[in-house]
């Protein structure tokens, strides 16, 4: 169904001459930056990120906590909340129908629509047909006081009403007022959710592998196990038959055997519907299992990107190497792990500086790492602009350009001294605070 739709969309769109590349893309993210404005200062959670997601592929974003991977997911899903804000960048979704309707030439590029430049109501109508999201914790994503079936049916209903009235990009709950809601408590026939939607919800539950879907639809979230809830949430996300599923740590809260089930399910669904998936996780195993291409995030940036095999078998960025080296291998245990020294940075704007963000933990830090490196194509070793010409395998590290030069290496204590200094002043600040408390 959704597979048909995507191919249909592709045929219908008049191919723009040099847009062969674009036609294969479903999502283009350009120069995306998201900041959080907290009391302690500005946090650069996502820092000028560019990537594309192609038709029918699984694009993985991997990183540790605080790398900005989840904020990236929220940013492309248009769900960043205060005190965070997407401060710059473009998020282009391919949606030919919508692109036709919008007059603003700035916000449309061929079949693509920029989420950041269209009004709120248009943005809302992208949700569902263009993309939908699933999260780590399904328990908190479902309303505990409504049955699972009802919630999925509601999602279906919203999409159904939107389709029935495609010209209107207004709120899809329009025409359903307070009076209808009150009436629905007495007369089931007046309820917002139609019988068709309920049936579709049960179909969806069946599609995501929930046994006895008709019975389970009438149960409440607390009666579901963690794995079942995640399935239910996937069913809800599928209600709009999305072109792109953004999955933010979908298996992190689950046990390995259940994780395997969910990963299998996502694979099957993808085969069935032809949708693309953005898979965000810290688990390199999940990435290896699921993804066609992968971007490695560190300190809000994509530091390395490429085909899975390129990144995993031939990592260029020392962070990628470190990440792969620090996980114990289940099949061939090494006698000793090779951890990355130090800690993940806090991403405070005033602490980031102009150097390569990984330099303080990098075993190959050189003089030139003190200025921020561009992205290099690992094949040619030339700097590339990921906005216009994303190469197949890129890395934001000078090592992609030339070998490590020991004579340029920064002295080992270079950053140690710096961090000791800053922690010292922190300490003083904390002490002054305490003195103040006393009086």
């Amino acid at each position: 169904m959704s597979g048909d739709e995507t191919s249909h969309a592709r045929d219908a769109s008049p191919a723009i001459s040099d847009a062969d590349e674009d036609a294969r893309n479903l999502l283009r993210v350009r120069d995306l930056s998201t900041r959080f404005f907290t009391e302690e200062g500005q946090v650069n959670a996502v820092e000028s990120v560019d990537f594309d997601v192609r038709d029918g592929e699984v694009f993985g974003i991997v990183g540790e906590s605080g790398s900005g991977k989840s904020v990236t997911a929220l940013s492309i899903g248009d769900l960043v909340e205060s005190p965070g804000r997407v401060t710059s960048g473009e998020v282009w979704y391919r949606n030919a129908d919508l692109a036709e309707e919008i007059d603003d030439p700035e916000a449309v590029d061929g079949d693509f629509v920029d989420v950041r430049q269209v009004p709120e109501n248009v943005r809302r109508s992208l949700r569902g047909p263009s993309f939908s999201m699933i999260f780590q914790d399904p328990m908190s994503s479902l309303n505990p006081s409504l049955t699972v079936g009802e919630q999925i049916a509601e999602a279906v209903e919203v999409q159904r009403r939107a389709r029935a009235n495609p010209r209107s990009t207004r709120s899809r709950t329009q025409g359903y007022g307070l009076a209808d809601m009150l009436a629905s408590t007495v007369l089931p026939s007046r309820s917002y959710v139609s019988e068709e939607s309920r049936e579709r919800a049960i179909e969806l539950l069946e599609q995501v592998g929930i046994p006895d879907p008709a019975d389970r639809a009438d149960e409440y979230p607390h009666q579901f196990s963690g794995g079942m809830l995640q399935r239910a949430m996937i069913a809800q996300a599928l209600a709009g038959e999305p072109d792109l599923l953004i999955a933010d740590e979908p298996t992190t809260a689950l046990d390995v055997t259940i994780q395997a089930q969910i990963l299998d399910l996502l694979r099957d669904l993808q085969d069935e519907t032809g949708m693309s998936i953005v898979m965000i996780t810290h688990n390199l195993g999940v990435i290896a299992r699921m993804c066609d291409r992968v971007g490695v995030m560190y300190a809000g940036e994509i530091v390395e990107r490429g085909q899975l095999a390129d990144v995993f078998d031939d990592p260029v960025h020392p962070y990628t190497q470190g990440l792969l080296g620090s996980i114990p291998d289940l099949d061939e245990p090494a006698s000793r792990l090779q951890p990355i020294e130090g800690n993940v940075p806090d991403l405070y704007d005033h602490e980031m500086g102009d150097r390569c963000y990984f330099a303080d933990r990098c075993p190959y830090a050189m003089e030139e790492c003190l200025s921020h490196p561009p992205e290099f194509d690992t094949e040619t070793g030339k700097p590339v602009d990921p906005k216009t010409d994303p190469g197949e395998h890129g890395a934001r590290c000078v090592l992609a350009n030339h070998e490590f030069r020991p004579e340029d290496a920064l002295p080992e204590e270079y950053f140690a001294v710096e961090s000791e200094d800053s922690s010292g002043s922190d300490r003083e600040a904390a002490e002054t605070e305490e003195v103040n408390t006393d009086d």
């Binding site: 009391e39 922190d426 605070e433 305490e434 103040n436 408390t437």
Partner: protein
Amino acid sequence: MISELLSKLFGGVWETVRGGVSPRTARNLRKEFRNSLLAKLGVVLVVAAILVAAFAPVLAPHDPTTQNLDGSSLPPLGFSKETTQTSSEMVNGSIEVVNETVYVEADPNHPLGTDSLGRDMLSRAIYGARTSLMVGFLGTAIAALVGVTVGLAAGYYGGRVDDALMRSADVMLAFPSLVLAVALVGLFGKVSIPVPDPLVALGVESGMPDSFVLPGTVILVVGLVNWVWFARVARGEALSIQSEEYVKAARSVGASDGFIIRKHVLPNSVTPILVLATIQIAAIILLESSLSFLGFSGTTLSWGFDIAQGRDYLATSWWISTIPGIAIVLTVIGINLVGDWLRDALDPGIEGEGGGP
């Protein structure tokens, strides 16, 4: 076990409260204070009430207990009172009653007027602050001591101990607090403890009462009526803290229950208890006023007592009831505003853990 706990609680109350206020907490307090006009107003009101109570002998223009029947029921400045003066005159051998309307003007010596016995209202309001605040603070201290001890024990030990303690607390809650308080006062009798006034004793001020009456029974009773609230809050805190891993860690190194309660559970539950205490002070001041109003107090220098006194003269001398009433309202509002400030600043959501470098 309980006695050990008590002694440790007593000794370490201040230390605990201090230890419970981390730099982060202090920062939140300051920030919330800066941003909130109401918090500032509350602090001003409370500080004013405390200063007034502490320096009552200096501030009060008259001895609040001196009666002057010649100048009774004088109105506050800016008001006058219209009364009918009845005099009898001997006119032509017969007694004639003359009704004459006179205007009683305010006396600048008694800016807030006098009561029916000619006592200075301002001085009484000032001294009344002492009673209210003393009962408020001491009563809350007793309530907190009993309640926190019971609550921590119930929450920490759980099971049967919890059941027994908290069900009895539920029973306490089932009684209307005023009825319970009246019953308890009846049970204990009125005990008044005269406390020498240091300012008078040191000769800073003379002509004022040389001692101040502490309504002992009332303090005890309001404490015993209100401990339940502390028990509930402390229990909830203890219940969640005792399952924290740092408590398990302390147990695994062999720390005794008393040690754990003192070092881990109590300090980490101080914040909500502090917030509750502020609100309880206000509640207890109101309860004391009610008891005084009903005549169950051990002192005659109390806002509630004055309101009761003025009740009979409401039609003619409204200020006798109104002035202590306003004093109560201002104090209670002030304390509640401080309580709100603490609650907003110390909200457990913001407090304690959370990220940061």
